[in-house]
């Protein structure tokens, strides 16, 4: 323990020197700028700018990359809150309540809460990373396909708490999303499914074009032509910061989101995406005012944003402790570190403690610099809302096209975004919610692969799910929760019919 502190002190003494801080700052600025493009998140940001760091000394390069990483993570929340464009799948939940807050004139508060939530989550999970990395990593590796399948079932349970409308409609939308997620090459057999000769559909519908289309583009299609354009919000200085009540409302969600995200994040794979969905569901379940969700609930921003951020930090646990590229973002970070001669893994902490602790310290510093950079920027970002909508929406559209195109350099993605925009527009008119579709698209390929991998491992015996302790426990808990939510389902179903009866009488 004492040794840890000593090492950390060395790490900080490196990371806090003025030139290194400057690199952290530059990294954060670049990351925020790149992250504002929908879809261009930490993944693309780091790899685009990696060659620029080739000539640098390892510490500076890694500090700068950590800055880019945190900046790009945060950039996505900005667009979600201000323009309803999810920068990545994990920001979808932020789009719902963050944008609702912005429309109510609380954009500054939402941005500040997102920034502070991300900072708290990022810092806390770095501490978790530092103290618990080796034992946690060993545990995380025990998550094979059967455990993963059981975990993802939780993702589906989230549906019960996700929407404020009819449960039946949510389920249908989730089924539609899951079906959309089936497009592309079947990873187990190599068959092309529903691709109609379009090679670009081989990897399926990207989550980013789907989310940007269903949320961002659909919003523009529906709003731009309204006879009375959305009123220009003129933020006053006093309103930039969250009020005391808003702070109080966000403390619990930030704490819970951090822990939840970290735990989901350490599991290898892409499960970290579901952390923000699960956090949203959790907050709504715990909230005394679940009816506020979807209409600008503070907890609906604070929880998912924190969960999202700590999940990606949690994903560094297996990478640092074991050298396993446990997900797309750690894989890029791992590669970036290896290019600079740092190879994470069990030997790193023992053989090159100064590098390991330097990395930990630089993550911490990157996170802090980001907060310092972003709180003042909230004031500037919020002023974007002063731009009259007829100027704002063409710019948002151009941004969406640019971002969605840049992720893969694929025009097909732009078409997908446009198609999903039209779908989202129509569904909105028909009173369907679109968030379950995004969840479905995210979950479908992962659930299917995990199920079929498990069966390949066991030669077709479903017993594999009950012979493994983690999987069995998760399944039992999931089944219990499913029964509980069934109760809400029936109750809400009645509500819905009662509402319709009222509508029939012409009372609503």
């Amino acid at each position: 323990m004492l040794e840890t502190l000593h090492n950390l002190a060395i790490g900080f003494s490196v990371a806090l020197s003025p030139p290194v801080l400057l690199y952290a700052f530059v990294g954060c600025v670049i990351g925020t700028l790149v992250g504002v493009l929908p879809g261009v998140g930490p993944l693309a940001g780091i790899s685009l700018l990696l060659p620029a760091t080739f000539g640098m000394d390892a510490t500076r390069a890694i500090v700068m990359l950590a800055g880019i990483y945190y900046g790009a993570m945060y950039g996505g929340s900005t667009t979600s809150i201000l323009m309803r464009i999810p920068g990545e799948a994990a920001s979808v939940m932020t789009c719902i309540d963050g944008y609702a807050m912005a429309r109510k004139g609380r954009a500054g508060a939402a941005l500040a809460i997102a920034a502070v939530g991300s900072y708290v989550a990022g810092s806390a999970s770095v501490i978790g990373l530092m103290l618990l990395a080796p034992p946690l990593a060993a545990f995380a590796l025990r998550f094979g396909p059967p455990e993963y399948f059981a975990l993802l079932l939780f993702g589906l349970l989230v549906l019960a708490y996700m929407s404020s409308g009819s449960m039946l409609k949510s389920l249908a939308m989730a089924a539609l999303g899951l079906l959309l997620g089936m497009v592309g090459i079947d990873q187990m057999s190599g068959y092309f499914r529903f691709a109609y000769g379009v090679v670009e559909l081989g990897d399926g519908l990207g989550v980013v074009p789907v989310a940007v289309g269903l949320f961002g583009v659909a919003e523009i299609l529906a709003t731009a032509g309204q006879p009375v354009p959305p009123k220009v919000i003129e933020p006053r200085l006093r309103e930039l910061l969250p009020s005391r009540t808003e702070w109080r409302q966000s403390v619990g969600p930030i704490g819970r989101g951090t822990v939840l995200g970290f735990l989901v994040g350490i599991i290898p794979g892409s499960a970290h995406i579901i952390s923000s969905f699960v956090s949203y569901a959790l907050e709504r379940k715990l909230s005394k005012h679940p009816e506020q969700f979807g209409h600008g609930a503070v907890a609906g921003v604070a929880g998912p944003e924190s969960a999202n951020n700590s999940a990606t930090s949690g994903a560094f646990v297996p990478m640092l402790a074991l050298g396993v590229p446990s997900g797309p973002i750690p894989a890029v970070m791992l590669a970036a570190m290896m290019v600079h001669g740092v190879s994470p893994g069990p030997l790193l902490i023992r053989q090159q403690p100064e590098l390991f602790w330097g990395f930990i310290a630089s993550m911490y510093v990157g996170n802090l610099v980001l907060l310092i950079l972003n709180l003042p920027l909230v004031g500037i970002f919020v002023n974007l809302l002063r731009v009259p909508y007829p100027y704002l929406y063409p710019a948002i559209l151009a941004f969406s096209i640019l971002g969605v195109y840049a992720v893969n350099g694929s025009v097909v993605d732009v078409w997908i975004m446009l198609g999903m925009g039209v779908l989202g527009y129509v569904l909105r008119k028909l009173d369907f919610e679109t968030a379950p579709i995004v969840l479905g698209v995210v979950l479908a390929p992962m659930i299917e692969l995990a199920l079929r991998q498990s069966l390949a491992m066991s030669d077709g015996h479903y017993a594999i799910f009950f012979q493994r302790p983690i999987a069995a426990t998760l399944l039992v808990v999931a089944a219990g929760m499913m029964l509980l939510s069934l109760r809400t389902f029936i109750r809400r179903g009645l509500d819905w019919r009662a509402r319709m009866a009222l509508a029939e009488k012409g009372e609503s």
Binding site: L168, A172, S189, R193, P390, P394, A398, L418, L430
Partner: protein, 147 residues
């Protein structure tokens, strides 16, 4: 009578039937060894049931005719602008495409003053290109003459 939910439910059921029809060429596999068509068929059946249920319970919802699309002109124009952008992006390059899209949306759809339109469109197209492509090295397509 055609109500909103009846039509929506029926459309979802149709989508499900379409998926079932399209899955016929893929091997279904078995419960122990699910093939590529297994999950899609399972999900399509789920969607079919959901769609039928929505339609069946959808009697009391407002009639389809109550749906209003007052903004259809705008929506169509925006859709066409985006479709043009998708077609043009790799042929005309980023700058020209975005310039044309912005000129169209601001000048024609929103009827802003020509000067403001041109200034905004040119500044946005070249500014974002400079920032993202030149400075941040996000590769964006170029058109003829290196534009």
């Amino acid at each position: 009578m055609l109500t909103v939910d009846r039509v929506a439910g029926a459309s979802l059921a149709l989508v499900a039937l379409f998926v079932l029809w399209e899955s016929r060429t893929l091997p279904l596999g078995s419960l122990a060894n699910p093939g590529p068509a297994y999950m899609p068929v399972l999900l399509a059946v789920l969607l079919l049931v959901g769609g039928i249920a929505i339609a069946a319970l959808g009697g009391p919802t407002p009639p389809l005719t109550s749906l209003a699309f007052p903004e259809w002109r705008h929506a169509l124009a925006i859709f066409l602008a985006c479709a043009f952008a998708a077609l043009a992006l790799e042929r005309l390059g980023y700058r020209l495409t975005v310039l044309l899209v912005l000129l169209f949306l601001l000048g024609v759809v929103e009827r802003k003053r020509p000067v403001a339109t041109v200034v905004f469109a040119v500044a946005f197209a070249t500014g974002t290109y400079l920032l993202f492509d030149t400075l941040l090295r996000v590769p964006l397509p170029r058109g003829p003459f290196g534009m």
